[in-house]
């Protein structure tokens, strides 16, 4: 069996344990938070004691935490992710509804981050210490110091309020009922600002990682040896320096890919993108265990998949990294 395949098998074998930990953790954390879903619900409307009592009975909150946990697990065993108390709908349906837009946002943002970060990092790292490096590094520093909510607001004020080139929020023109290509264009127009906001902040990070990796590679023995051998600078830059610097970059991308999916609450709120991040946020605020576990499960699955992809990429980028022996 190839080392890659063995890695996939081992990782998949570990997945159930990871997921079980995730489920238990979510439940315990939400249970430890003061107040339950009924408290969160009536905080916005009021009601008498009987009203609260009936709601608790109906939502199963009169049972002990243990019973609820076991009931949830029993449901999960049959593939049932439960009902969201906040939305009064099956968690599965909610996740399926929000996953595509979340993935679109996360992966587009990652592409922007890689493109912008890659170019800036490469420019800086290709000739460390040069004017080009200084300029690119200054850009990176500025981007890195910009919080995403601020960047988002500035982009909105500029492109939506002042210039009116792009919509300020949402993911489609309501009531337009576009079909086919027109619908895709409409979606793309709506995604420009959220993708830029999310992507640019990560671009700074990627640029720094890539530059640092390249600076280190320039100093390494094999590059010096390659140079002594008379390999042209161009080939040296792409085949040896940049390629080696990609290993730490891939690691960082793998780690942040998952947080882009689950952690873009700020961007999703600002741009009213109905994604998973807001869903997780609402699940915590409204004490909605099934929903929280559902969102976190999806994110955990994505993390597992991403990590696997990253490990497989390592082997391809740098054959010295032994897949079969790598600790996991």
């Amino acid at each position: 069996m190839s080392p890659g395949l063995a890695l996939v098998r081992r990782r998949l074998a570990h997945a159930p344990l990871v997921l079980a930990l995730v489920i238990t953790g979510c439940f315990v954390l939400l249970e430890a938070a003061p107040g339950d879903a009924v408290d969160a619900y009536v905080a916005s409307l009021g009601g008498d004691a009987g009203f609260l009592h009936e709601l608790r009975a109906r939502w199963g909150l009169d049972k002990t935490p243990w019973t609820r946990f076991l009931l949830y697990l029993a449901g999960l065993a049959t593939g049932d992710l439960g009902i969201s108390l906040t939305f009064n709908r099956p968690v599965r349906a909610l996740l399926l509804e929000r996953l595509p837009i979340t993935l679109l946002l996360a992966f587009s943002a990652m592409a922007v981050a890689l493109l912008v970060g890659g170019i800036l990092g490469f420019l800086a790292g290709s000739r460390p210490g040069s004017l080009r490096d200084r300029l690119a590094s200054a850009c990176v520093l500025a981007l890195n110091a910009t919080p995403s909510f601020w960047l988002g607001i500035v982009l909105v004020l500029l492109f939506a309020v002042r210039l009116r080139w792009l919509p300020s929020a949402g993911i489609e023109t309501i009531g337009a009922d576009y079909r086919g290509l027109a619908r895709l264009c409409d979606l793309a127009r709506h995604m420009v600002l959220p993708v830029l906001t999310l992507g640019l902040v990560y671009a700074a990070l990627y640029a720094r990682v890539l530059r640092a990796g390249m600076v280190e590679a320039w100093r390494s023995d094999f590059v010096r040896a390659a140079r002594a051998k008379g390999i042209p600078r161009r080939r040296l830059l792409f085949a040896h320096v940049a390629r080696n610097a990609l290993v730490p970059l891939v690691t960082v991308v793998g780690v942040h890919g998952a947080s882009m999916v689950g952690g873009s609450v700020v961007v999703e709120s600002l741009f009213a993108v109905p994604g998973l991040g807001r869903l997780a946020f609402e699940a915590v605020i409204y004490r909605d265990p099934a929903l929280l576990v559902g969102v976190v499960l999806v994110c955990a699955l994505l993390v597992i998949i991403l990590n696997l992809a990253v490990d497989l990429l390592y082997g391809w980028l740098d054959p010295r990294i032994e897949l079969a022996d790598s600790p996991s």
Binding site: D36, L45, G46, G47, D48, R98, A160, G175
Partner: protein
Amino acid sequence: MTLRRRELLACSLLSALAPAGIARAEPPRRGGVLVVAADTEPRNLNPALVASNGVFFVASKVIEPLAEMAYGQGGLEPRLALAWEGSPDGLSVTFRLRSDVRFHDGTPFSSADVAFCALELWKKHQNLGRAFFKDLEAVDTPDPSTAILRFSAPTPVQLVANALPALTAVVPRHLFAGTDVLTNPHNQKLIGTGPFRFVEHRPGQFYRLERNPDYWGAPLPWLDGIVYRVLPDRGAIAAALEAGEIDLAAFSAVPLADLKRLAAVPGIAVIDKGYEGITYQLTVEINHRRKELSDVRVRRAIAHAIDREFVVRAIFLGWAKPATGPVPRFDTTFFTDEVPSYPFDRKRAEALLDEAGYPRQADGVRFRVDLLPAPWFEQTRQMGEYLREALKAIGIEARLVIKDPAGHQKAVYTDHAFDLAIGSPVYRNDPAISTTILYESGLPPGVPFSNQYGYANPEMDAVIRAAARALDPAERAALYRRFQKLAMEDLPLIPVCEFTFLTVARTRVRNVATNPRWAVSNWADCWLES
């Protein structure tokens, strides 16, 4: 400085309203879709089951109550009911209903729908109705346009009338009878009699309503439809208004700090009317189980330590009024300002605390308290910070404990794990609906926005009980004046100021704020300039 700010805002408001004033002569234009901002998507959108402003904001356009609030004498305007009359013994109220009304699915509206909703929805399940209609025994329907509500104990018709706008939304019986009403799909896909029909809800994105061409109030409504865009971020709402993507944001959805900037944008107006019927109060809630706080002198000292004018100026930027008692000024039927008042006076506060036997210790502190500001509004949180400083000045050290909604609800109203809290109770058109509950004793723990303060005063309870049964409106009003006086003498909680919400709208939206519950009313007469 602050006066000038207020004047500035008032000026921009006047200039914004001026065209509307001139426009009276101009006939309303039919057509156009109004796009408004929404920040919540209630899990149950049926106003017959859930009486809350979040639900009404969308649902009141689709499902109507028996009557709506109105400016001017009487304060009510007929909707599904044309008239109502109470029996002399207070045991029944007879409603004469409109006979020309159809639900959006084509079935005619009749007294049977009212009877079903009253007994099966409002009384059994509605958050406010359960307590309010507890004495409702039966509803007689001698003919399709007459419904007689029968009570087991005398119930003032004045109280019933005042509850009509918020508690009596009517949905069709044939869709709910024989089903589990709480899980009925029509709690989301609303069917009512209102000027707009429910078209769709795209979760996380929008609600869409369209004009009901068969509305009983034809030629109303003027609008072709209403779209509620879900915009969870308040800064995004301000930007969307400025960008012209939405026409209106209600319920102070735009942060107060952004109002001045927005009001200066041509074509945008700030409107501070249309919420008088849902006036909120900023209050200091007090846990009487705490020995120091059970002493009325300490409570009065705290009241004296609060500079209400400052709170209005600094926290509400002028958009509020100091409160004199538990009833807001707008309700001229019940309001009285002949009550004890506690002007800002730190010396007096300190004297009262000394007198109560809590002198400053060596470290300058008299005693320590936990202060829990409710997280619902920006202003409740800011009031927490202000009160901490105000208390520090008179030697009371307050520790701010900030929780999220569920945590706050449980800590204050269930576990009583607080000393002081900042609350924001809403006054709903009659003291008996959601205000006396803050003062009466004997309520089980867990009931939100009620006396969970451990306060019990037999005299207060007696007044509240008597007023709830007083059939003569004059006698009722007199009892509620007594209630306000007692509330301010005994000071179980401290009303700080009363505030209503603001609407920010493009000036092309006309007939905004036409009644005291405008944001949660049906918007049939609202129209858009071309």
